[in-house]
């Protein structure tokens, strides 16, 4: 027998090879197409926002861990801060001043995550907390959208800006939206529209989502019910009055629905753990998004809807639990 110390532990002694780090890496890979798309659309500005958000999240995470007297490893290397950083960047307009990006990173990591006790304990999606914080703090900067494809290698503040399709719809109405872009749907699919880094190419986002589904990092429930509910809700309005309300296809392709449904509302920590709970969560997100978009004063409601449903997650998890393991009533028959 060897002289090295034997492992003594409680069962089970096997683990599958998945780990928090691996999950985070998978999410990063899934985000790659959308990240590339954002850089293609917004050029160096997008790169700056991405890099600052990621480095900012890592730095603030390290500082927060130091203050809370926690070890840097494995927390800093598990990739969760990087994922938060990329997701934060995905939720910001490309022309955002550099220091606001850093403020966002600070809010995401400290206010969104570490004050609750760090990874796994945060009730709200950190990137969305930061987005809403920035959106409310700096409404002008957060609603100034550089035109995609223009001035790709510029860094100045003088880039051309334009409202998002949803913004046009909210302030100028459906007719103005339809006349603003003759190739609207194609542009929505490829990402040639104004918006946050990650609110652009629906195709790139769906690709990432399929990858996540394939690797079983997310399940279909939340994305499908989220997008489906938005489609159904806006579809009813469209059927009733198609001269005022945009069609449901436009609604699911524009704004943050794809990004939100695939990457933000599927954040494990802040969503229900059961399949049924996920269905309810996705439905709630879709409904709130639809209500805010069509009946509220903001043009877009994805971030708010996800944060609101994050707040309901503990309740959902408390009241929707798997059915107990037993026969469902009735006399047992001999087979």
């Amino acid at each position: 027998m060897s002289s090295t110390k034997l492992i003594l532990q409680s069962s089970p002694h096997l683990r599958d090879d998945d780990s928090v780090r691996r999950i985070m890496l998978t999410v990063l890979i899934a985000l790659a197409p959308a990240t590339v798309a954002s850089v293609l659309m917004f050029g160096t500005r997008a790169v700056v926002v991405l890099v600052l958000a990621v480095l900012g999240c890592l730095a603030f995470e390290a500082i927060a861990l130091k203050i809370m007297k926690k070890p840097l490893m494995p927390y800093l290397t598990d990739g969760s801060a990087v994922v938060t950083g990329i997701l934060l960047a995905m939720n910001l307009p490309s022309g955002l001043p550099w220091w606001m990006v850093l403020v966002g990173a600070l809010v995401a990591v400290v206010l969104g995550k570490q004050v609750y006790g760090g990874i796994g304990s945060n009730p709200f999606n950190p990137a969305l907390v930061a987005r809403v914080f920035l959106f409310i703090s700096f409404p002008t900067a957060m609603t100034t959208w550089p035109v995609p494809g223009s001035d790709l290698f510029g860094m100045g503040a003088d880039v051309a800006t334009a409202a998002t399709p949803l913004g046009v719809l909210k302030t100028d109405g459906l007719a103005a939206l339809m006349s603003s872009d003759s190739n609207l749907y194609m542009n929505l699919l490829t990402g040639h529209v104004g918006g946050c880094l990650g609110e652009t190419s629906a195709i790139a986002l769906i690709l990432g989502g399929l990858f996540l589904l394939l690797r079983k990092v997310i399940s279909w429930e939340i994305p499908v019910t989220f997008i489906g509910t938005v489609f159904a809700f806006t579809g009813v309005f469209y059927l009733v009055d198609s001269s005022t309300y945009a069609d449901p296809l436009f609604q699911i392709l524009s704004g943050g629905v794809m990004l939100g449904a695939i990457f933000m509302a599927t954040d494990m920590v802040t969503t229900p753990v059961t399949r049924k709970g996920m269905l309810l969560f996705g439905f709630g997100c879709g409904l709130i998004t639809g209500v805010i978009r069509l009946l509220g004063s903001y043009p877009e409601g994805v971030s708010f809807s996800i944060l609101i449903m994050n707040g309901f997650t503990p309740l959902i998890d408390r009241y929707i639990t798997p059915a107990p393991f037993e026969d469902k009533g009735g006399e047992l028959q001999a087979p």
Partner: protein, 450 residues
Amino acid sequence: MSSATMGFPKGGVHPPEEKELSLGAELVTVTPPKKVIVPVTQHLGRPSAVVVNRGDEVVVGQVLAEATGPVSAAVHSPVSGKVLKIADGAVIGADRVPVIEIMNNGEDTGLDAFVQKTVSWKDKSSFLDWIRDAGVVGLGGATFPTHIKLMPPKDATVHTLIINGCECEPYLTADDTLMQWKPAEVLAGCCIMAGVLGISRILIGIEDNKPRAIEAMTVAAREGTYASFFDGDVPSFDVQVHALKTRYPQGAEKQLIDALIHRKVGAGKLPFTAGVVVQNSGTAYAAFEAVAARKPLIDRVMTVTGKGVEKPGNFLVRIGTPISEVVNAAGGAKENLKAIIAGGPMMGKSVKTLELPVVKGTSGVLLLTGEEIEEYRERECIRCGRCVEACPVNLVPCDVAAFAEFRQWDRAGKAMECVECGCCQYVCPANRYLVLYNRLAKYHWRRLQK
């Protein structure tokens, strides 16, 4: 044999099987050692009472300790020789329990009394007593006295005997081997138990990663070879061998019932409520020996495997043999040994030494290297929900763990349904000690109920 592969509907995991390591080698009989250590109690239930004294000469099969009530089992001497001492000793999972040490005189006096004879079905009324007197317990690992499971309560209508040949734990191949080598004997044991229960329907569930066992059992069932062990007016049995999906924990009693007859036996309920009795295939063999040869349970088939042992395989071992002897029979342990697990890797216990005796419930010993096992450090739960997906009994393991972590025992009552199969912990990307939390929650919940 049914063509469609069946399985339990929800949860479970599929770890690497690693069965080929120990499969294929011959069933080796391990020479009884110079000294055996026989724990006084080797079953689940009331402790047995020692009936020999220090210095007594004993023969093979002599009762060393007798049952102390209905839910109890006798222990017999696996060798002939002299009782050295009756004292506290270490066994798997406990450091100080009463054990009987016997110096083997090497003569196996009394062994020749246990000769296999044809079973007369007219003795059916005695089968149960013989099984009980032989000290047969569940050999799958649970070690619940077998005769109790063959005595359904008055109000229960039992219609089916389910034989568990799943051996869903990775690495282990003891049941597989037994079914391959002694299919007729195993089937005869099944018939004996069905006879005791007064029923004719026998369902045998075997995971589909054991094609040879399935083949052997199917052939034996079809050709009725087991009938040659009986004479008299033997009733006809409806024996079906079912291939089941290879998915851990297919061999857990309630999952097996669910897979075979689609009945969910709820928490705290016995299989009787679904009209079934579940017995392990190894137990069936032991029951056969108890009835056909009147042989008490003094040996069993166990697997010694893992990359930390030279020649993995299956071994017929006398109860009380130190594990080290069995390992020696398997060529000895390798230098890079990292862990010793008694039982399967999912539910077995890690032990710190090989100098522990084989008991009735020892289905195998794993000698694992760093390639196969590592020490995991627990991290924060990220609420990924994989444990919920993996749990075969519909629990939310991460919640139970959270209640346990924050000592909210009053909210953790659901832990009582946990079968400690370890699926949740196996899939947990944060390496949470979910099974441990569940055990803690069970303990405290029981305490609160008092």
